[in-house]
Symmetry: C2
Subunit: 365 residues, 2 copies
């Protein structure tokens, strides 16, 4: 086992990944298995793992990671049912706290956790703070789409159940920055989710946000395509889709549910007759590539945007493949120093305080 006190000497902390091993639906064995998958493809990446040493030590040994991964013992675990308010008050001994703390102190650059989303967000906001100008941080997620890059960025996927016009503008700017870094897009196309593309449709705050985002396109170096609809989430109308966290969360879970339903129906259909089973056998390469193309595990990893450091929420029910995908995303964003880039982009793109009716830095009551 590496000695946790000395292991990080001489290492660039911003490239170290800080992983919370506990709190996922499938337990730490799945997280360590996912980490092992990731490290096979990315040997040499520095990783800190946080959780109960008694449980993690044998798991690391099993995967031959004992001398590679830095273990940080944390006796407590945030469960899926803990309320965010409880977590921030009583969570100091948890693996989640420990994983965030490593990033706060600069020992590591990016956090990954499969734990309770609300708890992770609350703790991250408390310990890592929001970037100047951001009132509500957001979770950005990826949708398989008809885009050149194959994915749309959607935010907010559920960090907050509300978003006013100023929040939606900030989401547009943060989403642009994320799409630019994740997909090498020079000038991402941004759309605002609504129930129709006509200008008179939708809630009042959406009409104001429509104006605000349109007016920021030049300064923010993105193309604003206007209102988009649910069907555009997997479409090619834009690269970044902005919405409040309630709508975004429902859309995300709806999309996953429909994809799972179709995949189950397909399996049933293909098993019905010997002929269709033979057909499925012959087409299995094609069906496997289809499955891979729409596999939600490939795009596992919601990124918290708007904090001074990058935090990645892996799906609670992620398997090893899903965990590995979330860690890969963390690795890419750490390498790009994404959180610093996002903060400087925001600072450059935001309207001056004096131009704004409601300053976004204002704290919630």
């Amino acid at each position: 086992m590496l000695d946790s006190g000395t292991a990080l000497q001489g290492v660039d902390g911003s490239r170290v990944l800080s992983i919370d091993a506990m709190g996922g639906d499938n337990g730490p064995a799945t997280v360590v298995a996912g980490l092992s998958l990731f490290l096979k493809k990315n040997p040499g990446t520095q990783v800190m793992l946080h959780g109960r040493a008694k449980e993690l030590t044998p798991l690391l040994a099993k995967h031959g990671l004992t001398d590679i991964v830095i273990l940080r013992d944390a006796s407590d675990v945030v469960t899926m049912h803990d309320k965010p308010s409880h977590v921030v008050r009583h969570g100091k001994a948890t693996s989640m706290w420990s994983a965030i703390e490593a990033v706060r102190t600069g020992e590591a650059g990016v956090v990954v956790s499969c734990g309770n989303t609300g708890g992770l967000m609350a703790m991250s906001m408390l310990r890592l703070r929001k970037i100047d100008g951001v009132n509500r941080p957001a979770i950005a997620c990826l949708w398989p789409s008809r885009n050149k890059q194959g994915f749309n960025v959607m935010l907010d996927a559920g960090a907050d159940i509300r978003a006013d016009q100023d929040d939606l503008l900030i989401y547009a700017l943060m989403g642009t920055s994320y799409a630019r870094n994740a997909f090498d897009l020079k000038r991402p196309r941004v759309g605002l989710l609504n129930v129709g593309t006509e200008e008179h449709k939708g809630r009042a705050e959406l009409k104001v946000a429509h104006e605000l985002i349109g007016a920021s396109a030049t300064k923010g170096d993105f193309e604003y395509v206007g209102f988009v609809e649910g069907g555009d989430l997997p479409g090619d109308a834009c690269d970044v889709i902005v919405t409040d966290g309630f709508t975004g969360n429902v859309a995300l879970k709806t999309g996953e549910g429909i994809a799972n339903l179709i995949s189950d129906f397909m399996r049933e259909s293909l098993k019905r007759t010997p002929l269709s089973m033979l057909g499925a056998l012959l087409a299995r390469g094609a069906l496997r590539s289809l499955k891979k193309r729409i596999d939600p595990r490939r795009v596992n990893g919601g990124v918290f945007l708007g904090l001074t450091k990058t935090v990645i929420k892996s799906h609670g029910s992620a398997d090893a493949t899903g965990v590995a995908a979330a860690i890969s995303l963390a690795h890419r964003l750490a390498d790009q120093h994404f959180s610093d880039r996002l903060a400087s982009r925001l600072a450059a793109s935001l309207p001056h305080e004096s131009d704004r009716a409601a300053p976004p830095t204002q704290e919630q009551p």
Copy 2:
């Protein structure tokens, strides 16, 4: 051609279908083709068709429907871009107005239109009036699901962008009545759409609606399963899912978009190699049955709930199969005298006025 003045003598108007032939994306030819498909399966059904006689007469002749369908000439058409406020003020000469009027006067029982949703809802509210106790009517649609009956009812799919706690309670009662009639369910299971199933999650009005709906389950003769999530729309957690029209509309379009994406990706995958093409050929029966099972055209037809008469909105881009499905749904609901049943169910289930903080009959300001 049937003489429109005398054709309806001796006919039970409540079973006559009133169809707006104009205003869909694919024009009246598609509506008449869909009507023809429907009438082949349901000969003897009385149908009134509204639109420009000059355009419709040759279409009816082409399908051999000249002596079967009653034509009502209407010179004007509601377009997809007309605002609802414009439609109600200047729409008296439109086919949509004419189709609604036939139901208002009792000549027909159910309206079907592929036209502009907002216009259809505004005109229907103005001419057909709301049922006592209903503030916001809703559009109910069907989701392919893992249910015994294969479908979930979701409402509101987009009649209004807002819904308060009282509206959500009414939606639960109306959705129950619809599910009972459409699927012969004795005691439908009702869920309230939220971003999590825990009681502390979601917007304030959802927490109040949660209490209200739970308290009405016995009187309304349904089972309340509590909060459900986007993934339950195609799931088996309940039979009726209640949400506001903004969220419902985004979810519906997202689900359609994902289903179309997967179906396109599948087609591409299966065409990639000779082996996969052979496989697809052998499995074509299975793939066809899969396609049918998830085909959104099969469940075409949003039902406006909360008006004194039943109005069905067919998808603007519906093809002949889709139009036929919407007309079939109209036929079934007309046969069941659904609008009368819904009104009496609502009257029996609603809490007494004196028990309510905000009476649902209150008009919007």
